[in-house]
Symmetry: C2
């Protein structure tokens, strides 16, 4: 799934997203609820009409961004409170509110509101961030004469800091199950919007086992593995996915959130995962990094200055083979690496657009090949075509 965070796959017309082979796109609840707001999108006919995307849409629950994008967030047993990145106001997300917002947005698949604990490394960074944020908040709070609130924050922080990483994972798992039950109960339109549950547990396989059993005991149209695209090593991702995916029901879609590179995707598919989302194709595309079968190339490099080849010879994307897409160009030639380099050096929007289109197509084509390989079982053949996935 290409990611259209704010209701737009950055710089790409919906029809051109479709032309890359994408069947479904992801929107981020966190961003859309803050701006323009889920009520507005509901009044505009729902997120499909809003962004003019004719296919299915999946939204996340907003929880992950509420944890990760806000310096100052407070998770409690009932939900999370965070400061809006738009206007600094306090925003509250609970399982019930996450369902209400996604019911208003109207995607085909909505994600449960879970407690996504930080990875061990992140937890350490997070402690430092928390100390800074508390110091800042204390100054502001004292200015306003609200010492009581500040004292409460400090208590909370102390409590947070007294939990070991293992305890934090366990707490998150318990919350995730309780919150999932509340999500299912609060979901207003289960007939037309599929709610997926999310399995947490960090890199602790016992916690994953505990969580997958309880999440999948709750009858839902699909299940997801969360909390593996938060800074873990590829090996850690592989270990968690290989352990968890086979424990999920066979007959329901299995979705690995926020993954990833070709190698990670391949490992996950072979472990039984069906669905993925990732910002890599568009984010890296905007930074002039193009994916190819043999690895990424950096189009800003001086070596491409006079290069008349397409990003990847043989690629059927709009940038590499515009004639195939009905675009008239001199002699049907591609957009060359030399031209793309110029666009990036000059800060021209068309550079990010063309490389995003190429990267989206790269991943769609790779996944189409993976689907065929599931039939043929010729994984060596796939790796020969995509050395990058080895």
């Amino acid at each position: 799934m290409p990611v259209g965070t704010r209701g737009s796959v950055k710089g790409i017309l919906p029809e051109l997203v479709r032309a890359t082979g994408a069947q479904i796109v992801l929107n981020n609840t966190y961003h859309l609820m803050l701006r323009p707001g889920s009520e507005l999108i509901q009044k505009m006919g729902g997120v499909h009409r809003f962004m003019n995307w004719p296919g299915p849409i999946l939204t996340d629950s907003g929880g992950y961004q509420a944890y990760s994008l806000s310096d100052m967030n407070k998770v409690d047993d009932d939900g999370v409170t965070f400061k809006s990145i738009i206007d600094g106001s306090n925003v509250r997300l609970t399982p019930e509110r996450a369902m209400q917002v996604q019911n208003e947005l109207g995607p085909d698949i909505m994600m449960a509101f879970d407690d996504c604990p930080p990875s061990a490394a992140e937890a350490e960074d997070g402690d430092k961030r928390l100390v800074r944020a508390l110091a800042r908040d204390r100054v502001q709070t004292e200015d306003a004469g609200r010492q009581a609130g500040s004292a409460r924050d400090t208590e909370l922080a102390k409590k947070k800091n007294t939990l070991t990483h293992a305890q934090r994972l366990e707490l998150a798992n318990h919350r995730t199950i309780r919150w999932l039950e509340r999500c299912k109960a609060a979901h207003a339109r289960p007939d037309v919007q599929a709610l997926f549950g999310i399995i947490q547990g960090g890199t602790d396989l016992a916690q994953r086992s505990w969580c997958v059993e309880r999440v999948c005991n709750i009858e839902l149209p699909g299940y997801a593995i969360g909390g593996v695209a938060v800074g873990e090593s590829p090996d850690a991702i592989a270990t968690v996915v290989r352990h968890t995916a086979p424990l999920m029901p066979d007959a329901k879609p299995r979705y690995l959130m926020g993954v990833g590179y070709e190698r990670d995707l391949l490992i996950a598919v072979r472990a039984g995962v069906d669905m993925f989302d990732c910002v890599l194709p568009t984010r890296n595309g905007r930074n002039a990094n193009a994916f190819t079968r043999t690895g990424q190339i950096r189009l800003r490099n001086a070596q491409y200055q006079l290069d008349q080849l397409p990003i990847e010879p043989g690629c059927d994307c709009l940038a590499c083979d515009p004639a195939r897409h009905g675009h008239a160009t001199p002699d049907g030639q591609p957009f060359t690496r030399g031209y793309l380099r110029h666009l990036f050096m000059a800060g021209e929007m068309l550079g990010p657009i063309l490389v995003s289109l190429h990267n989206l197509r790269h991943f769609q084509r790779f996944m189409a090949d993976v689907r065929q390989t599931i039939q043929s079982d010729d994984w060596a053949g796939l790796l020969a075509r995509y050395p990058v996935a080895a």
Copy 2:
């Protein structure tokens, strides 16, 4: 002609530029000669192949930007020296160099290197800029121990300042004629690249008469009116164009450079002008200003927040009627004003893209209607369809 300053109509794929009805695009020699350089573009097969545009291309001479984009430029009888906006290095443009650069770029139409004098208002501003620039330059020069150069600059500035506006126009006209003869002599590929001469003279009609006679006495495939899109009032543009265009040869294309709004275009067509270029459709599109038959609308305005209409009902552009362009959308609906407002408020690239597409189509459709009206002679009918042009 849509403007593709740096070899790209900002944010718009060439095929989508074509789909707006554009037959030819303009590139700016000044920008392309500084980055990536005309030699590089020549090695890449010329500007058509470089930017992947299958139709004709026109380039300006670089002179106008050398005057207007550089705080510190020195015009003399042989050409202009300016500081590069890319790296601050000194760049020299002469008639011969302007031809060499455009021969290397390889457009179908190339413009003569002329002396475009500032308008009266600009001249006053320019004097202030010059004083500031000289002060800055003096400090730098003294740091480097090159007092001699600084003294020369000051002399030059004094000389510039002693010219009245009328004298400056006259000087520019004499240079423009001498330089045009040098351009024609230096042009290496007159068989495949059409060189257009440019008529200057500011808002002084006697100077325009003097210039148009001498420029059009030099046998060339086309002629242009320059120096009217440099800050003059619409009335001043109209007066100059109505005076000058009828004095240009009937059988050759007449090109009014850098114009403009619908009203200006209409006045110029009725005075006999055939060709135009302007950044308005794309520049205003990037700023959320959409052109309509009744005037511009600002899509950032709160009034459009819940607006489900297209930018302009009845418009056949890709933003207003994507289904007509083969784009699948829910119920073939348009990109709504409410969605476009959201894209601009969120800083999403797709906003500038969609409104630029609409604006380009608006001007192409308007000009197509103007061409039909030349046949029908029903100018009242045109104004009824386009009140904005009245």
